[in-house]
């Protein structure tokens, strides 16, 4: 039963070709559109964040379900663990931002400071920014590595000690992630508009992370099932993942609505300017994000058997992934690019480039360990699982 996933040459070529298309598109855009450095750095930040969120979801999924004693996810554990292996790469990519700080963040220029930015320069200053980034990544990478090692050592011996140790690690990660998920979103995304603030922003980015993670998880399962693996994953597991995608996209809409409605309602200029720029500047994009992230998954996954059919679920997951990408795009572009932002070749190109690299890293890591973990006390429950 401990078959490994073999990363066939054909799949490697597919990933490579995606990256190449990406590079081609970027080259084309440099020829025709010759984007300024702001746009380039914006795309780097955008895709860094997007794929960082997917990898963070990996660790989060394992940790959350370990604490909640849930049993159904155990047979699928290897996939989120593989997702989390991308963390070191995204750390490296994020530290690349050192060179692009002046393009991305107004507060990094000292001359642009007005009283409000001056007031928060104790938090928004370059050295502290990178110290925090370093702390986040050491915490995430460290804990995800330990969780993966724990799961690997659990394969070798069925000593109950590993289960308890795993739970403690999971609790540690959850505590660390609860705080850092908010601060990371303030540092990297909210500070693009230094004057704007919303207390819900941290949790809104967190839920965006969770939904895109579930969607990526479903897509990888669909990819593996299409290649003949994961036969122990039945319709019940898919049904639960479908329910996650359905439920959490509703929760994403709930957070989005209340953040927008409360700011719309009190109509205080320092808060409404954020949505005024986006609603009047990018009306189509503003509503497409809502449709792709809520309306479509809500109607598509409402019926019971829609959540049990792998093809339909994969299609909805892909749509949600695109929706979440656009959501982060809309969070960043008005602040960095102002009115001139539009989705051009370089955006698509850099997305493909990152996608190719991400898939290659994740699936390569997946093939290192056997697909099915052993000696987990809940493994049996995961097989005989019925909703």
């Amino acid at each position: 039963m401990d078959t490994n996933y073999i990363l066939s040459k054909k799949t490697k070529q597919v990933f490579l070709s995606i990256s190449v298309i990406g590079i081609l598109l970027i080259a084309l855009s440099f020829l025709f559109e010759n984007p300024e450095s702001k746009q380039v750095w914006m795309n780097v930040l955008l895709n860094n964040l997007y794929f960082l969120f997917l990898s963070l979801f990996g660790v989060l999924f394992i940790a959350l379900h370990k604490i909640a004693h849930s049993g159904w996810h155990v047979s699928l554990k290897r996939i989120p663990e593989a997702l989390s292996t991308f963390l070191p790469y995204s750390a490296a990519l994020m530290f690349l931002l050192i060179f692009g700080m002046h393009d991305l963040y107004h507060w990094s220029h000292h001359d642009l400071h007005d009283p409000i930015i001056e007031g928060k320069s104790a938090y928004l200053n370059l050295p502290f920014f990178f110290i925090r980034m370093a702390v986040y990544f050491t915490g995430w990478i460290g804990l995800s590595y330990l969780l993966r090692k724990n799961s690997a050592s659990q394969d070798l011996s069925n000593d109950y000690k590993f289960h308890k140790q795993g739970r403690i690690l999971a609790a540690l990660f959850m505590a660390f992630f609860a705080v850092t998920s908010s601060t990371m979103s303030w540092d990297w995304i909210m500070s693009v508009d230094p004057h704007w603030f919303s207390t819900l922003f941290g949790w809104f980015v967190f839920i965006g992370l969770f939904v895109s993670g579930v969607a990526a998880f479903i897509l990888i399962i669909a990819l593996l099932k299409a290649q003949g693996y994961l036969n122990f994953v039945n319709k019940e597991h898919l049904h639960d993942l479908g329910k996650y995608l359905f439920g959490f996209s509703i929760f994403w809409m709930y957070l989005w609505f209340f953040q927008y409605m409360l700011i719309w309602y009190s109509h205080i200029p320092e808060e409404t300017i954020y949505f005024a720029q986006r609603l009047h500047g990018f009306p189509i994009l503003f509503f497409t994000i809502l449709i792709l992230n809520f309306l479509f998954p809500f109607l598509a996954l409402m019926t019971r058997n829609s959540k049990r059919n792998i093809k339909w679920l994969a299609m909805v997951a892909a749509v949600v992934l695109i929706g979440q990408w656009l959501n982060i795009y809309l969070m960043l572009s008005p602040g960095i690019m102002g009115e001139t932002a539009k989705i051009g070749l370089i955006e698509i190109g850099s997305a493909c480039l990152y996608l190719g690299g991400f898939l290659f890293v994740v699936l390569n890591a997946l093939s290192k360990k056997p697909l099915l973990c052993k000696n987990d006390p809940f493994l049996e429950e995961s097989f005989h699982y019925e909703t």
């Binding site: 609505f257 927008y260 409605m261 719309w264 309602y265 109509h267 409402m302 019926t303 019971r304």
Partner: protein, 172 residues
């Protein structure tokens, strides 16, 4: 006077096995009474999926349209008021009530549909088959028509499945 065979069981596994056998023998089971919802019994009995979710969805949709429509009508058409400098047709302010009314309609529609379809309700005169059904007994009710041979055949099967007790009952 119609007479029924009611076979009593004390455990749901025996009940499921008995039903499976009876179904294979094409014996018409009138009803099965259990103290709690037995998992997987409706698959064995081949019962159709209940259409309550669709009732809920339709009622919910009606609720959404009704609530949103009424608020828009009241605030834009019938008596538009200048309130807080906000436009008359302010969608974000209509959504909370729309959601609440949707949930209300869906819940009430499903409950009434359930009670109506199951003929349950205040003052429903359903015949209580046995006091212990709601305690710990599982009962299969099979129609016992006249010819004994069919009757004995059924009795044999039930005994073979160690039915706890078999009774012959008459109901008006």
């Amino acid at each position: 006077m119609r007479s029924y065979i009611s076979a009593y069981f004390t455990d749901e596994e025996d009940l499921l096995r008995a039903i499976k056998i009876l179904m294979e023998k094409k014996i018409l089971i009138l009803d099965v009474l259990t103290p709690f919802p037995v998992h997987g019994i409706d698959k064995v009995l081949g019962l159709k999926e209940s259409k309550l979710p669709t009732v809920g969805f339709i009622a919910g949709a009606i609720g959404t349209l009704f609530a949103f429509g009424f608020q828009t009508w009241a605030f834009v058409v019938d008596y538009p008021l200048f309130i807080g400098g906000k436009p008359h047709f302010s969608i974000p302010a209509f959504i909370p009530i729309t959601f609440e009314v949707t949930v209300l309609f869906a819940a009430f529609a499903m409950v009434f549909a359930f009670l109506f379809r199951s003929k349950l309700g205040l003052g429903a005169k359903n015949k209580i088959h046995d006091e212990r059904i709601t305690d710990d007994r599982f009962v299969i009710i099979i129609e016992a028509n006249e010819n004994d041979e069919y009757f004995n055949n059924v009795k044999a099967i039930l005994e073979q499945e160690e039915a706890h007790e078999i009774q012959l009952k008459e109901h008006k």
